[in-house]
Protein backbone atom coordinates (compact mmCIF):
# COMPACT_ATOMS: atom_id res chain seq x y z
CA UNK A 1 0.00 0.00 0.00
CA UNK A 2 2.70 2.44 1.04
CA UNK A 3 4.91 1.32 -1.82
CA UNK A 4 2.11 1.74 -4.34
CA UNK A 5 1.40 5.23 -3.04
CA UNK A 6 5.09 6.06 -3.21
CA UNK A 7 5.39 4.84 -6.79
CA UNK A 8 2.31 6.76 -7.91
CA UNK A 9 3.41 9.99 -6.26
CA UNK A 10 7.00 9.66 -7.45
CA UNK A 11 5.93 8.95 -11.01
CA UNK A 12 3.49 11.87 -10.93
CA UNK A 13 6.17 14.21 -9.66
CA UNK A 14 8.72 13.29 -12.30
CA UNK A 15 6.37 12.89 -15.28
CA UNK A 16 4.49 16.12 -14.56
CA UNK A 17 7.81 17.86 -14.07
CA UNK A 18 9.08 16.64 -17.41
CA UNK A 19 5.85 17.52 -19.20
CA UNK A 20 6.21 21.12 -18.02
CA UNK A 21 8.72 21.60 -20.82
CA UNK A 22 6.79 19.61 -23.40
CA UNK A 23 3.37 21.25 -23.49
CA UNK A 24 2.68 24.33 -25.55
CA UNK A 25 0.15 25.97 -23.29
CA UNK A 26 1.68 28.14 -20.61
CA UNK A 27 -1.27 27.60 -18.33
CA UNK A 28 -0.89 23.85 -18.63
CA UNK A 29 2.85 24.08 -18.03
CA UNK A 30 2.29 26.07 -14.86
CA UNK A 31 -0.30 23.71 -13.49
CA UNK A 32 1.74 20.65 -14.40
CA UNK A 33 4.51 22.14 -12.31
CA UNK A 34 1.96 22.57 -9.54
CA UNK A 35 1.00 18.91 -9.91
CA UNK A 36 4.66 17.96 -9.54
CA UNK A 37 4.88 20.04 -6.37
CA UNK A 38 1.72 18.50 -4.97
CA UNK A 39 3.10 15.03 -5.58
CA UNK A 40 6.32 15.94 -3.78
CA UNK A 41 4.24 17.43 -0.96
CA UNK A 42 2.47 14.07 -0.79
CA UNK A 43 5.83 12.29 -0.52
CA UNK A 44 6.91 14.71 2.21
CA UNK A 45 3.66 13.99 4.05
CA UNK A 46 4.47 10.28 3.78
CA UNK A 47 7.62 10.85 5.80
CA UNK A 48 5.44 12.23 8.57
CA UNK A 49 6.25 15.90 8.12
CA UNK A 50 2.65 17.10 8.21
CA UNK A 51 3.27 20.77 8.72
CA UNK A 52 6.01 21.17 6.15
CA UNK A 53 4.09 19.11 3.58
CA UNK A 54 0.97 21.23 3.94
CA UNK A 55 2.97 24.44 3.82
CA UNK A 56 4.41 23.29 0.49
CA UNK A 57 0.86 22.73 -0.80
CA UNK A 58 -0.29 26.11 0.48
CA UNK A 59 2.66 28.03 -0.91
CA UNK A 60 2.88 26.31 -4.24
CA UNK A 61 -0.81 26.74 -5.13
CA UNK A 62 -0.55 30.48 -4.56
CA UNK A 63 2.85 30.69 -6.21
CA UNK A 64 1.76 28.84 -9.32
CA UNK A 65 -1.38 30.93 -9.76
CA UNK A 66 0.74 34.06 -9.52
CA UNK A 67 3.20 32.47 -11.90
CA UNK A 68 0.44 31.74 -14.40
CA UNK A 69 -0.54 35.40 -14.36
CA UNK A 70 3.02 36.44 -15.16
CA UNK A 71 3.42 33.76 -17.78
CA UNK A 72 0.43 35.04 -19.63
CA UNK A 73 1.53 38.59 -19.20
CA UNK A 74 4.94 38.14 -20.75
CA UNK A 75 4.70 35.22 -23.13
CA UNK A 76 3.44 35.45 -26.60
CA UNK A 77 1.05 32.67 -27.43
CA UNK A 78 0.27 31.80 -23.80
CA UNK A 79 -2.55 29.43 -24.69
CA UNK A 80 -0.25 27.36 -26.87
CA UNK A 81 -2.62 27.55 -29.80
CA UNK A 82 0.33 27.49 -32.13
CA UNK A 83 3.03 25.03 -31.32
CA UNK A 84 6.38 26.68 -31.19
CA UNK A 85 9.69 25.46 -29.96
CA UNK A 86 11.20 27.48 -27.20
CA UNK A 87 14.31 25.44 -26.64
CA UNK A 88 17.89 26.35 -27.21
CA UNK A 89 21.00 24.33 -26.72
CA UNK A 90 18.98 21.19 -26.25
CA UNK A 91 21.75 18.68 -26.81
CA UNK A 92 24.25 20.19 -24.40
CA UNK A 93 21.57 20.59 -21.75
CA UNK A 94 20.45 17.00 -22.20
CA UNK A 95 23.99 15.77 -21.72
CA UNK A 96 24.49 17.90 -18.61
CA UNK A 97 21.12 16.86 -17.16
CA UNK A 98 21.76 13.17 -17.86
CA UNK A 99 25.21 13.38 -16.33
CA UNK A 100 23.76 15.08 -13.28
CA UNK A 101 21.15 12.38 -12.91
CA UNK A 102 23.68 9.58 -13.26
CA UNK A 103 25.99 11.21 -10.74
CA UNK A 104 23.25 11.93 -8.20
CA UNK A 105 21.36 8.67 -8.56
CA UNK A 106 24.58 6.69 -8.64
CA UNK A 107 25.72 8.43 -5.53
CA UNK A 108 22.38 7.74 -3.85
CA UNK A 109 22.59 4.04 -4.67
CA UNK A 110 26.29 3.47 -4.09
CA UNK A 111 27.02 5.46 -0.98
CA UNK A 112 26.89 3.41 2.16
CA UNK A 113 24.39 5.50 4.07
CA UNK A 114 24.68 5.53 7.88
CA UNK A 115 22.01 3.73 9.87
CA UNK A 116 19.04 5.62 11.10
CA UNK A 117 19.89 7.56 14.22
CA UNK A 118 17.09 8.06 16.71
CA UNK A 119 13.36 8.26 16.05
CA UNK A 120 11.13 11.18 15.06
CA UNK A 121 9.85 13.47 17.76
CA UNK A 122 6.24 12.64 18.73
CA UNK A 123 5.13 15.93 17.19
CA UNK A 124 7.54 17.02 14.44
CA UNK A 125 5.65 20.31 14.08
CA UNK A 126 6.26 21.20 17.70
CA UNK A 127 9.89 20.14 17.34
CA UNK A 128 10.29 22.37 14.30
CA UNK A 129 8.74 25.31 16.08
CA UNK A 130 10.88 24.89 19.18
CA UNK A 131 13.97 24.50 17.09
CA UNK A 132 13.24 27.60 15.01
CA UNK A 133 12.59 29.60 18.14
CA UNK A 134 15.72 28.43 19.95
CA UNK A 135 18.63 26.69 18.26
CA UNK A 136 17.74 27.77 14.74
CA UNK A 137 16.70 31.27 15.74
CA UNK A 138 19.46 32.75 13.61
CA UNK A 139 18.15 30.92 10.54
CA UNK A 140 14.68 32.23 11.16
CA UNK A 141 15.88 35.80 11.61
CA UNK A 142 18.02 35.61 8.48
CA UNK A 143 15.05 34.33 6.50
CA UNK A 144 12.89 37.12 7.80
CA UNK A 145 15.37 39.84 6.92
CA UNK A 146 16.01 38.29 3.51
CA UNK A 147 12.31 38.17 2.76
CA UNK A 148 11.90 41.76 3.79
CA UNK A 149 14.83 42.80 1.62
CA UNK A 150 13.27 40.86 -1.26
CA UNK A 151 9.98 42.65 -0.87
CA UNK A 152 11.65 46.05 -0.94
CA UNK A 153 14.05 45.15 -3.72
CA UNK A 154 11.47 43.58 -6.02
CA UNK A 155 9.06 46.46 -5.62
CA UNK A 156 11.81 48.94 -6.47
CA UNK A 157 12.84 46.87 -9.47
CA UNK A 158 9.42 46.23 -10.87
CA UNK A 159 7.54 49.42 -10.22
CA UNK A 160 7.13 51.90 -13.02
CA UNK A 161 6.04 54.88 -11.02
CA UNK A 162 7.35 55.24 -7.53
CA UNK A 163 6.01 57.51 -4.82
CA UNK A 164 8.07 60.46 -6.05
CA UNK A 165 6.32 60.20 -9.38
CA UNK A 166 2.96 59.94 -7.71
CA UNK A 167 3.26 62.46 -4.92
CA UNK A 168 5.82 64.93 -6.24
CA UNK A 169 9.50 65.41 -5.43
CA UNK A 170 8.79 66.58 -1.91
CA UNK A 171 6.12 63.93 -1.38
CA UNK A 172 3.81 66.81 -0.48
CA UNK A 173 1.04 66.37 -3.01
CA UNK A 174 -2.27 66.08 -1.14
CA UNK A 175 -3.26 63.11 -3.28
CA UNK A 176 -1.58 61.05 -5.92
CA UNK A 177 -2.46 61.52 -9.55
CA UNK A 178 -3.26 57.84 -10.04
CA UNK A 179 -6.04 57.02 -12.36
CA UNK A 180 -7.40 54.34 -10.06
CA UNK A 181 -7.23 55.09 -6.39
CA UNK A 182 -6.99 52.57 -3.65
CA UNK A 183 -9.37 52.15 -0.77
CA UNK A 184 -7.47 54.22 1.73
CA UNK A 185 -7.14 57.15 -0.62
CA UNK A 186 -3.40 57.31 -0.88
Amino acid sequence: MTTALFVVLAATAVVAGALVFRVDSMARATFLLLLSFLAVAGLVLMTGLQYVGLVIVLMMVIEMVVMAVFMIMYMMNPAGLMSMSMFHNTRGAAVIAAATFVALAGGALLVDWPVRGGSPAPDPTMALGESLMSGQMLTMMTLGVTLFATIVGTVVLATGRGRYDRLGDELDAPASDDRDRGGVGR
Binding site: N77, M82, G160, R179, D180, R181, G183, G185
Partner: protein, 366 residues
Protein backbone atom coordinates in the same frame (compact mmCIF):
# COMPACT_ATOMS: atom_id res chain seq x y z
CA UNK B 1 -39.47 8.86 -21.87
CA UNK B 2 -42.05 9.86 -19.29
CA UNK B 3 -39.38 10.46 -16.73
CA UNK B 4 -37.42 12.64 -19.09
CA UNK B 5 -40.52 14.62 -19.90
CA UNK B 6 -41.24 15.10 -16.23
CA UNK B 7 -37.68 16.20 -15.58
CA UNK B 8 -37.81 18.69 -18.42
CA UNK B 9 -41.08 20.06 -17.16
CA UNK B 10 -39.77 20.48 -13.65
CA UNK B 11 -36.61 22.13 -14.93
CA UNK B 12 -38.63 24.53 -17.05
CA UNK B 13 -40.56 25.85 -14.07
CA UNK B 14 -38.01 28.54 -13.33
CA UNK B 15 -36.28 29.42 -16.58
CA UNK B 16 -33.54 32.01 -16.78
CA UNK B 17 -34.45 34.62 -19.34
CA UNK B 18 -32.15 36.67 -21.53
CA UNK B 19 -33.89 39.74 -22.94
CA UNK B 20 -32.46 41.29 -26.09
CA UNK B 21 -33.82 44.39 -27.70
CA UNK B 22 -32.69 46.89 -30.28
CA UNK B 23 -32.71 50.64 -30.20
CA UNK B 24 -36.02 52.15 -29.14
CA UNK B 25 -37.52 49.09 -27.48
CA UNK B 26 -37.08 50.32 -23.93
CA UNK B 27 -40.73 50.49 -23.03
CA UNK B 28 -41.56 47.05 -24.30
CA UNK B 29 -38.42 45.67 -22.69
CA UNK B 30 -39.47 47.17 -19.36
CA UNK B 31 -42.86 45.51 -19.73
CA UNK B 32 -41.21 42.15 -20.45
CA UNK B 33 -38.88 42.56 -17.50
CA UNK B 34 -41.80 43.35 -15.26
CA UNK B 35 -43.61 40.22 -16.37
CA UNK B 36 -40.47 38.13 -15.82
CA UNK B 37 -40.02 39.59 -12.35
CA UNK B 38 -43.68 38.93 -11.58
CA UNK B 39 -43.18 35.28 -12.43
CA UNK B 40 -40.00 35.33 -10.29
CA UNK B 41 -37.88 34.11 -13.13
CA UNK B 42 -34.24 35.10 -12.89
CA UNK B 43 -32.65 37.24 -15.57
CA UNK B 44 -29.75 35.43 -17.20
CA UNK B 45 -26.28 36.94 -17.05
CA UNK B 46 -24.97 35.42 -20.24
CA UNK B 47 -26.18 33.17 -23.07
CA UNK B 48 -24.67 30.18 -21.27
CA UNK B 49 -26.91 30.92 -18.31
CA UNK B 50 -30.11 31.36 -20.32
CA UNK B 51 -32.99 29.04 -21.10
CA UNK B 52 -35.30 31.46 -22.86
CA UNK B 53 -34.10 34.09 -25.30
CA UNK B 54 -36.65 36.85 -25.57
CA UNK B 55 -36.22 39.16 -28.54
CA UNK B 56 -38.04 42.42 -27.99
CA UNK B 57 -39.26 44.37 -31.00
CA UNK B 58 -38.16 43.74 -34.55
CA UNK B 59 -34.38 43.55 -34.74
CA UNK B 60 -32.83 45.31 -37.69
CA UNK B 61 -30.32 43.84 -40.12
CA UNK B 62 -27.38 44.66 -37.87
CA UNK B 63 -28.83 43.25 -34.67
CA UNK B 64 -30.29 40.15 -36.28
CA UNK B 65 -27.04 38.23 -36.81
CA UNK B 66 -25.97 39.10 -33.26
CA UNK B 67 -29.14 37.56 -31.91
CA UNK B 68 -28.57 34.47 -34.02
CA UNK B 69 -25.11 34.23 -32.55
CA UNK B 70 -26.44 34.55 -29.02
CA UNK B 71 -29.10 31.97 -29.77
CA UNK B 72 -26.43 29.57 -30.97
CA UNK B 73 -24.70 29.97 -27.63
CA UNK B 74 -27.74 29.13 -25.50
CA UNK B 75 -27.51 25.54 -24.26
CA UNK B 76 -30.39 23.11 -24.76
CA UNK B 77 -33.09 22.98 -23.37
CA UNK B 78 -33.81 26.37 -24.79
CA UNK B 79 -36.51 28.34 -26.46
CA UNK B 80 -36.75 31.60 -28.27
CA UNK B 81 -39.58 34.08 -28.15
CA UNK B 82 -40.22 37.11 -30.30
CA UNK B 83 -42.31 39.80 -28.67
CA UNK B 84 -43.47 42.80 -30.63
CA UNK B 85 -46.37 44.03 -28.57
CA UNK B 86 -47.41 44.22 -24.95
CA UNK B 87 -50.38 41.94 -25.44
CA UNK B 88 -48.16 39.12 -26.69
CA UNK B 89 -45.94 38.95 -23.63
CA UNK B 90 -47.80 36.52 -21.44
CA UNK B 91 -48.65 34.12 -24.23
CA UNK B 92 -45.13 34.24 -25.68
CA UNK B 93 -43.55 33.44 -22.32
CA UNK B 94 -45.96 30.60 -21.74
CA UNK B 95 -45.25 29.23 -25.18
CA UNK B 96 -41.53 29.45 -24.40
CA UNK B 97 -42.00 27.36 -21.28
CA UNK B 98 -44.03 24.83 -23.26
CA UNK B 99 -41.20 24.53 -25.75
CA UNK B 100 -38.72 24.14 -22.93
CA UNK B 101 -40.57 21.15 -21.54
CA UNK B 102 -41.22 19.55 -24.91
CA UNK B 103 -38.78 16.73 -25.45
CA UNK B 104 -39.20 16.41 -29.21
CA UNK B 105 -38.85 20.12 -29.76
CA UNK B 106 -35.67 20.15 -27.70
CA UNK B 107 -34.25 17.26 -29.69
CA UNK B 108 -34.71 19.31 -32.82
CA UNK B 109 -33.03 22.29 -31.19
CA UNK B 110 -30.05 20.40 -29.83
CA UNK B 111 -26.72 21.67 -31.00
CA UNK B 112 -24.76 19.32 -33.20
CA UNK B 113 -21.90 17.82 -31.18
CA UNK B 114 -22.13 20.56 -28.63
CA UNK B 115 -20.85 23.19 -30.99
CA UNK B 116 -22.98 25.84 -32.57
CA UNK B 117 -23.04 25.68 -36.30
CA UNK B 118 -21.21 28.54 -37.87
CA UNK B 119 -23.31 31.16 -39.50
CA UNK B 120 -22.07 32.68 -42.67
CA UNK B 121 -21.08 36.27 -42.60
CA UNK B 122 -22.52 38.51 -45.16
CA UNK B 123 -20.12 41.36 -44.95
CA UNK B 124 -17.04 42.27 -43.00
CA UNK B 125 -18.88 45.25 -41.61
CA UNK B 126 -21.36 43.04 -39.87
CA UNK B 127 -18.83 40.66 -38.58
CA UNK B 128 -17.75 42.93 -35.79
CA UNK B 129 -21.15 43.01 -34.34
CA UNK B 130 -21.26 39.38 -33.47
CA UNK B 131 -18.41 39.90 -31.16
CA UNK B 132 -20.51 40.73 -28.20
CA UNK B 133 -18.32 39.37 -25.50
CA UNK B 134 -19.77 35.91 -25.75
CA UNK B 135 -18.78 35.50 -29.27
CA UNK B 136 -16.60 32.49 -29.23
CA UNK B 137 -19.72 30.39 -29.37
CA UNK B 138 -21.31 32.36 -32.10
CA UNK B 139 -19.13 31.02 -34.81
CA UNK B 140 -15.94 29.34 -35.71
CA UNK B 141 -14.36 32.46 -36.95
CA UNK B 142 -14.14 34.80 -34.04
CA UNK B 143 -12.26 35.08 -30.87
CA UNK B 144 -13.29 37.38 -28.11
CA UNK B 145 -9.82 38.75 -28.06
CA UNK B 146 -9.37 39.68 -31.57
CA UNK B 147 -10.72 39.98 -35.01
CA UNK B 148 -8.63 38.34 -37.55
CA UNK B 149 -9.00 41.15 -39.97
CA UNK B 150 -7.41 43.48 -37.49
CA UNK B 151 -3.94 44.44 -38.57
CA UNK B 152 -1.09 42.99 -36.60
CA UNK B 153 -3.04 39.86 -35.84
CA UNK B 154 -1.28 36.61 -36.51
CA UNK B 155 -3.39 33.83 -37.90
CA UNK B 156 -3.68 30.85 -35.58
CA UNK B 157 -5.16 27.41 -36.09
CA UNK B 158 -8.92 27.53 -35.85
CA UNK B 159 -9.08 31.01 -37.27
CA UNK B 160 -8.34 32.58 -33.93
CA UNK B 161 -6.12 35.58 -33.97
CA UNK B 162 -3.26 36.52 -31.79
CA UNK B 163 -3.43 39.63 -29.68
CA UNK B 164 -1.61 42.81 -30.60
CA UNK B 165 0.91 44.49 -28.42
CA UNK B 166 0.60 47.97 -27.03
CA UNK B 167 1.97 50.03 -24.21
CA UNK B 168 -0.10 49.88 -21.06
CA UNK B 169 -0.56 52.65 -18.54
CA UNK B 170 2.28 51.27 -16.47
CA UNK B 171 4.76 51.53 -19.29
CA UNK B 172 4.83 47.83 -20.13
CA UNK B 173 4.14 46.62 -23.62
CA UNK B 174 1.48 43.98 -23.21
CA UNK B 175 -1.15 42.19 -25.20
CA UNK B 176 -4.16 44.10 -26.40
CA UNK B 177 -7.44 42.49 -27.23
CA UNK B 178 -10.04 43.85 -29.59
CA UNK B 179 -13.44 43.24 -28.10
CA UNK B 180 -16.87 44.51 -28.95
CA UNK B 181 -18.91 45.15 -25.81
CA UNK B 182 -22.64 44.82 -26.24
CA UNK B 183 -25.26 44.72 -27.44
CA UNK B 184 -26.02 41.64 -25.33
CA UNK B 185 -24.58 42.29 -21.92
CA UNK B 186 -26.38 42.53 -18.60
CA UNK B 187 -27.43 46.07 -17.70
CA UNK B 188 -26.39 47.46 -21.05
CA UNK B 189 -28.21 50.18 -23.03
CA UNK B 190 -30.30 48.73 -25.84
CA UNK B 191 -28.60 48.50 -29.18
CA UNK B 192 -25.32 50.03 -28.07
CA UNK B 193 -22.01 48.51 -29.12
CA UNK B 194 -18.65 49.76 -27.92
CA UNK B 195 -15.65 48.45 -29.79
CA UNK B 196 -12.82 48.56 -27.31
CA UNK B 197 -9.18 47.70 -27.19
CA UNK B 198 -8.65 45.97 -23.88
CA UNK B 199 -5.40 45.47 -22.09
CA UNK B 200 -5.97 43.23 -19.15
CA UNK B 201 -9.16 44.86 -17.94
CA UNK B 202 -8.19 48.42 -18.83
CA UNK B 203 -9.76 50.03 -21.86
CA UNK B 204 -7.21 51.63 -24.17
CA UNK B 205 -9.43 52.71 -27.04
CA UNK B 206 -13.17 52.88 -27.37
CA UNK B 207 -15.53 53.62 -30.20
CA UNK B 208 -19.22 53.37 -29.51
CA UNK B 209 -22.08 53.15 -31.95
CA UNK B 210 -25.71 52.15 -32.08
CA UNK B 211 -26.91 49.27 -34.17
CA UNK B 212 -29.56 49.77 -36.83
CA UNK B 213 -29.66 53.52 -36.44
CA UNK B 214 -30.22 54.34 -40.06
CA UNK B 215 -33.37 52.36 -40.45
CA UNK B 216 -35.91 54.82 -41.72
CA UNK B 217 -38.83 52.46 -41.77
CA UNK B 218 -38.71 51.70 -38.08
CA UNK B 219 -41.73 52.52 -36.01
CA UNK B 220 -41.48 55.73 -34.12
CA UNK B 221 -39.05 54.78 -31.33
CA UNK B 222 -40.86 54.52 -28.04
CA UNK B 223 -39.02 56.54 -25.47
CA UNK B 224 -39.54 56.16 -21.79
CA UNK B 225 -40.89 59.14 -19.89
CA UNK B 226 -38.16 60.99 -18.03
CA UNK B 227 -38.92 59.63 -14.57
CA UNK B 228 -39.07 56.04 -15.76
CA UNK B 229 -35.91 56.43 -17.79
CA UNK B 230 -34.05 57.90 -14.83
CA UNK B 231 -35.17 55.00 -12.66
CA UNK B 232 -34.29 52.47 -15.35
CA UNK B 233 -30.81 53.83 -15.66
CA UNK B 234 -30.40 54.10 -11.88
CA UNK B 235 -31.46 50.46 -11.59
CA UNK B 236 -28.73 49.51 -14.05
CA UNK B 237 -26.09 51.38 -12.11
CA UNK B 238 -27.22 49.77 -8.86
CA UNK B 239 -27.22 46.32 -10.40
CA UNK B 240 -23.72 46.88 -11.78
CA UNK B 241 -22.35 47.83 -8.38
CA UNK B 242 -23.78 44.53 -7.18
CA UNK B 243 -26.53 45.97 -5.03
CA UNK B 244 -29.34 43.74 -6.20
CA UNK B 245 -32.02 44.70 -3.71
CA UNK B 246 -32.12 48.45 -4.42
CA UNK B 247 -31.71 47.69 -8.13
CA UNK B 248 -34.81 45.52 -8.06
CA UNK B 249 -36.65 48.21 -6.15
CA UNK B 250 -35.72 50.87 -8.67
CA UNK B 251 -36.90 48.60 -11.44
CA UNK B 252 -40.14 47.91 -9.60
CA UNK B 253 -40.72 51.65 -9.24
CA UNK B 254 -40.06 52.14 -12.95
CA UNK B 255 -42.67 49.52 -13.75
CA UNK B 256 -45.11 51.01 -11.30
CA UNK B 257 -44.75 54.39 -13.01
CA UNK B 258 -45.03 52.96 -16.50
CA UNK B 259 -47.72 50.37 -16.27
CA UNK B 260 -49.54 50.32 -12.97
CA UNK B 261 -51.94 53.07 -12.28
CA UNK B 262 -50.84 53.53 -8.71
CA UNK B 263 -51.18 56.69 -6.76
CA UNK B 264 -48.21 58.99 -6.98
CA UNK B 265 -47.74 59.47 -3.27
CA UNK B 266 -46.78 55.86 -2.62
CA UNK B 267 -44.27 55.90 -5.48
CA UNK B 268 -42.93 59.20 -4.21
CA UNK B 269 -42.44 57.73 -0.78
CA UNK B 270 -40.58 54.76 -2.14
CA UNK B 271 -38.39 56.89 -4.41
CA UNK B 272 -37.45 58.97 -1.37
CA UNK B 273 -36.71 55.81 0.56
CA UNK B 274 -34.47 54.56 -2.22
CA UNK B 275 -32.69 57.90 -2.44
CA UNK B 276 -32.04 57.86 1.27
CA UNK B 277 -30.57 54.38 1.13
CA UNK B 278 -28.30 55.27 -1.75
CA UNK B 279 -27.19 58.50 -0.12
CA UNK B 280 -26.54 56.84 3.18
CA UNK B 281 -24.49 53.92 1.92
CA UNK B 282 -20.96 54.69 2.97
CA UNK B 283 -19.66 51.65 1.18
CA UNK B 284 -21.13 52.92 -2.08
CA UNK B 285 -19.47 56.26 -1.56
CA UNK B 286 -16.19 54.58 -0.70
CA UNK B 287 -16.37 52.56 -3.86
CA UNK B 288 -17.37 55.23 -6.28
CA UNK B 289 -15.38 58.07 -4.81
CA UNK B 290 -12.46 59.24 -6.87
CA UNK B 291 -10.97 62.43 -8.13
CA UNK B 292 -10.78 61.15 -11.64
CA UNK B 293 -12.51 60.03 -14.72
CA UNK B 294 -16.18 60.01 -14.16
CA UNK B 295 -16.04 57.98 -11.01
CA UNK B 296 -17.30 60.47 -8.52
CA UNK B 297 -19.45 61.51 -11.44
CA UNK B 298 -21.01 58.08 -11.25
CA UNK B 299 -22.29 58.70 -7.76
CA UNK B 300 -23.39 62.26 -8.50
CA UNK B 301 -25.19 61.21 -11.62
CA UNK B 302 -26.87 58.40 -9.73
CA UNK B 303 -28.09 60.91 -7.15
CA UNK B 304 -29.20 63.23 -9.95
CA UNK B 305 -31.10 60.47 -11.67
CA UNK B 306 -32.98 59.57 -8.52
CA UNK B 307 -33.64 63.22 -7.80
CA UNK B 308 -34.97 63.87 -11.28
CA UNK B 309 -37.14 60.78 -11.00
CA UNK B 310 -38.51 62.17 -7.76
CA UNK B 311 -39.17 65.56 -9.31
CA UNK B 312 -40.91 64.00 -12.26
CA UNK B 313 -43.09 61.86 -10.02
CA UNK B 314 -43.91 64.83 -7.87
CA UNK B 315 -44.94 66.68 -11.02
CA UNK B 316 -42.33 69.34 -10.59
CA UNK B 317 -40.88 68.58 -13.99
CA UNK B 318 -37.29 67.76 -13.25
CA UNK B 319 -34.54 68.59 -15.66
CA UNK B 320 -34.57 66.46 -18.74
CA UNK B 321 -31.70 64.02 -18.76
CA UNK B 322 -28.62 65.40 -20.43
CA UNK B 323 -28.00 63.68 -23.70
CA UNK B 324 -24.54 62.24 -23.84
CA UNK B 325 -23.13 62.01 -27.31
CA UNK B 326 -21.08 59.03 -28.24
CA UNK B 327 -17.69 60.70 -28.81
CA UNK B 328 -17.86 62.13 -25.29
CA UNK B 329 -18.62 58.67 -23.98
CA UNK B 330 -15.67 57.23 -25.88
CA UNK B 331 -13.23 59.72 -24.44
CA UNK B 332 -14.44 58.99 -20.95
CA UNK B 333 -14.03 55.27 -21.39
CA UNK B 334 -10.38 55.46 -22.45
CA UNK B 335 -8.13 54.50 -19.56
CA UNK B 336 -10.97 53.21 -17.42
CA UNK B 337 -10.78 49.81 -15.82
CA UNK B 338 -13.51 47.40 -16.91
CA UNK B 339 -15.82 47.72 -13.91
CA UNK B 340 -15.47 51.51 -14.04
CA UNK B 341 -16.18 51.50 -17.75
CA UNK B 342 -19.38 49.56 -17.24
CA UNK B 343 -20.50 52.15 -14.70
CA UNK B 344 -19.57 55.02 -16.99
CA UNK B 345 -21.70 53.57 -19.78
CA UNK B 346 -24.56 52.93 -17.38
CA UNK B 347 -24.67 56.44 -15.97
CA UNK B 348 -24.17 58.03 -19.37
CA UNK B 349 -27.12 55.97 -20.63
CA UNK B 350 -26.69 57.28 -24.18
CA UNK B 351 -29.81 57.48 -26.29
CA UNK B 352 -29.66 57.24 -30.04
CA UNK B 353 -30.15 60.56 -31.78
CA UNK B 354 -29.96 59.69 -35.42
CA UNK B 355 -29.26 63.17 -36.64
CA UNK B 356 -26.57 63.91 -34.13
CA UNK B 357 -24.66 60.76 -33.59
CA UNK B 358 -24.63 58.97 -36.85
CA UNK B 359 -20.94 58.90 -37.59
CA UNK B 360 -20.00 59.96 -41.09
CA UNK B 361 -17.42 57.24 -41.36
CA UNK B 362 -19.40 54.22 -40.30
CA UNK B 363 -17.29 51.97 -42.44
CA UNK B 364 -14.16 53.07 -40.66
CA UNK B 365 -15.35 51.80 -37.35
CA UNK B 366 -14.54 48.25 -38.05
Amino acid sequence: MDLRNALLRAAAARPHVLVVGGVGTDRLRARVEQEIARRRWPVATAPADADVLVVVGRPGPELDPVIDGVWAAVPVPRSRAQITGEDEIASALEAAVRTLSDLTAQHALALRDGLPTAHTDTSPGEQDQHADGHDEQTGHDEHSGSHHHQEGGMELPGGLAMADLGEDRDGLVLDQLHVALGPVLPEWPSGLVVDVVLQGDVIQEARSRFLDLDLDDRDAPECLPDAARALDSAARVLALVGWDGPAARARGLRDALLFDRVDGSRVLEEVDDLRRRVRRSRLLRWMLRSAEAGRSEVLETLHDKLLSARCAVAGAGGAAPVAVDLPALDSRLVGAEFAAARLIVAVADPQPQPTLTRPADRGGAS
